[in-house]
Chain length 345, copies 2
C-alpha cells in the first residue's frame, strides 16, 4: 500500500505534479499522467483518505472502546455484538464507520485510551464499563474528543451518557420479592469499582428501607461478574445463617454458576430459594427452572447511543438536537419460574 | 481535539514555528514557545500520530474485519473475543494495536473492505469467513496491504492463511461413527459459499468413499449456521426415509436447535440417533446428553494468526521468518454421550 510520497519518489517527479495527475487536472502533460497512473496501479497506490480527513479535521470513524479481558471473553455473551447493529444503523446514515477498540485486560484503560486518542484514529469515542471515578472521562473532555459513556460516573460533570436502569431493576426485584413474602433478600454485587455496582447496591438498600426492612451489609455478596462468580455467590449464600430466602443477581451469567452450586447442595431455585437474574441472555435461556430476569433491546440501545453521541458532535448536533444528552435505559421484567412461589407469612 | 493546523491558525503564526516550538527546537524564542504550549493545552491539541505515521507509511494499527450481521449477533458465542486475546498478546510486543472492523450485514464485504483500505486506518488486515471466490483477497494483494486470512479461498494464489482443519474433523467424525456401526450418516452444511462448507462436504464424501460407502447428496442438509439452522436441520433429518442413524454438524450452536427439534419428536440424541457437533462452545455445554464435539484453543489460534501476519509485514518479517505462511489448525475430539452407542450390525 503506497501513498503519494512513495509514488512521487518512485517516479522522481514532484508531489504536486503527481497530485495534479491523479486528480485529473489539465496542467499535466499526457505522458506524465500516463506514467503516474501506471505507477499508481503498479505500486498499489491508495488515495490517502486519512490525510484528506485530517485536513478536514476528521477521520469519519467512531471508536467503541471495550475491555477484552479473559472475563469478557468467557462471559460477555454478545452484549456488544448486539449493540453494534444499532450503532451501525445510525452511523451508516452519515458515512461514518465503527472501529471497536479492545483494551487488553493487562493494560490500564486510561493509558490505552490516551494512546488511542494520540493515534487520532477516530473522530469520537463510545466508552463503557464506567468506574465510579473514571479518568477516561476527564481525558476525553480535556482533549475535546466528543464521546458518550455507556454508564455513569462521578467524573467529568455534565457529560453525555446513557446508563441501564440498574436502580429500576433493583427496585422492581425487591418489590416483587417482598410481595411474595420474602424479608431476607441477598444481592450479588461486583468486586470492582464499576459504577453500576454502587448504583445497584444503593437502590437495593433504599428499596428495602422503603419497605421498613433494615439493610444488612452481610447480605451483599461480592463476586466476579461471571459464571464462576455466580458459583462462588452460591457458596456464600448457603453459608449464611439464617439462609436468605431470595437473591437478586447483577450480572446475566451469574445465574448459571449459582444454579449449579445450589443444585449441588440440593437447594432448588424456584422452590427452596427465589432467584432473580439480571439481563436475559441466550446462555441463561437453558436454565431449568426458567430464570425470572429483565429484557432490553440491544439494537435499540445501540441506536440511542449513536444518536446521543452524534448530538454532541458539531457536524451532526443540529440533526440530533432534540436528543437528551443523558438517559436511563429501562429493562422489562420477564417473569420465570425461579421466583414463582410465595413464602408462608 | 485540535491538530497543528488549528493551533497555528489560532495563534496566527506559521505551522513550522508551532511545530518547532512543540518539538522543543532551540530556534524558537521563549515567549513564542510559551504561547504555543499554552494554546496547545487550552485547545486540547493532540500530536498527530496519524500524520507522523503516514510519513513513516504506517499507523501501527492492525484491523480485524468481522461480519456483524444479525446471525453473528445471536450466534457468534464469542469466537472472536477468544481470538482477540491471542492477537493482542503478540501485537503488544511491537506496540501495535488492534481495531476490530465490523462489516454490517447489509453491506457487501468487498465494498466495506475497499472503504477501510481507502481510509488507511490500519497497516495490515486480518480477514475471516473467506468465500470460495473472495475478491477481498485480490483487493488486498493489489493494494499491497499485508494480510492473513482466517480461512482458505480459491482466490489470490499463494497468500497467507490459517484455516481450522474442517477436513480433519469431517474425517474423524465419519471414522468414529462408522466404527460404531453407522452406515447412513447425514451432515449439516452451510447454505452460503463460505469456503469451509466446500472443504467439509468434500472431506465427508472422501471419508465415506474410503470406507466403501456411497455418497448420497440427499444426506447433505443445508441450513443457516445458527441455533435456528440446527432446528431446521432436525426437521429435514426426521423427514428422510429411511432416517439416518447419525448426523455431523458444522457449526457449534446448531446442536442446540437440533436437540430441541429431536426432543420434540421424541427422538433422543445418544440413544435413537448419534450426533457429533463441531466446536465446543459455552452455550452448548448445557446440552443433555453431553455433545461429542471438537476443541481448539482460541487464544493459541489468535497468537498464531498474529505471528503469521507479522511474518508477512516487512518490518517484522525477520523476527517471524521461521513461521509457515499457511497452516491447518487442528481440533481435538471431546467425547460426549451424544454418540455413545453402537448400532447392531
Amino acid at each position: 500500500m503506497k501513498g503519494i510520497h512513495q509514488l512521487a519518489k518512485h517516479l522522481d517527479i514532484s508531489i504536486g505534479t503527481v497530485s495534479r495527475a491523479l486528480n485529473g487536472r489539465p496542467d499535466v502533460n499526457a505522458e506524465t499522467r500516463r506514467r503516474v497512473l501506471e505507477a499508481a496501479e503498479q505500486l498499489g497506490y491508495v488515495a490517502n483518505q486519512s490525510g484528506r480527513s485530517l485536513r478536514k479535521g476528521s477521520t469519519n470513524v467512531i471508536g467503541l472502546m471495550i475491555e477484552s479481558g479473559k472475563d469478557n471473553v468467557d462471559n460477555s455473551d454478545n452484549f456488544f455484538f448486539g449493540v453494534i447493529g444499532g450503532l451501525q444503523t445510525v452511523f451508516a446514515r452519515h458515512n461514518l464507520d465503527l472501529a471497536i477498540l479492545p483494551c487488553p485486560s493487562e493494560e490500564d484503560p486510561l493509558e490505552y485510551l490516551q494512546r488511542m486518542v494520540a493515534r487520532r484514529l477516530v473522530d469520537a469515542m463510545i466508552i463503557s464499563a464506567t468506574q465510579k471515578i473514571d479518568k477516561r472521562i476527564d481525558l476525553l473532555i480535556e482533549k475535546r474528543v466528543p464521546f458518550v459513556a455507556l454508564g455513569r460516573s462521578h467524573s467529568g460533570g455534565s457529560h453525555t451518557w446513557i446508563d441501564l436502569d440498574f436502580a429500576g431493576v433493583a427496585n422492581s426485584a425487591v418489590d416483587r420479592l417482598i410481595s411474595k413474602g420474602h424479608r431476607r433478600i441477598a444481592i450479588a454485587a461486583p468486586t470492582t469499582d464499576i459504577n453500576l455496582g454502587f448504583v445497584f447496591v444503593d437502590a437495593y438498600r433504599a428499596a428495602l428501607e422503603r419497605h421498613g426492612l433494615t439493610y444488612d451489609p452481610a447480605l451483599v455478596l461480592r463476586a466476579r461478574s461471571s459464571e464462576d462468580g455466580g458459583y462462588s455467590v452460591g457458596g456464600d449464600l448457603l453459608a449464611l445463617a439464617p439462609r436468605p430466602t431470595a437473591i437478586i443477581l447483577i450480572y446475566e451469567l451469574m445465574a448459571i454458576g449459582l444454579y449449579r452450586r445450589l443444585m449441588e447442595a440440593g437447594v432448588k431455585p424456584g422452590c427452596d430459594i427465589a432467584v432473580i437474574g439480571f439481563r436475559e441472555a441466550p446462555r441463561a435461556r437453558f436454565l431449568q427452572p426458567a430464570l425470572t430476569c429483565y429484557r432490553l433491546s440491544l439494537q435499540d440501545l445501540g441506536t440511542e447511543l449513536a444518536e446521543t453521541l452524534l448530538s454532541s458532535m458539531p457536524d451532526y448536533a443540529e440533526i440530533y438536537s432534540s436528543h437528551a444528552c443523558n438517559r436511563l435505559w429501562p429493562l422489562d421484567l420477564v417473569p420465570g419460574e425461579s421466583d414463582a412461589f410465595e413464602l408462608a407469612p
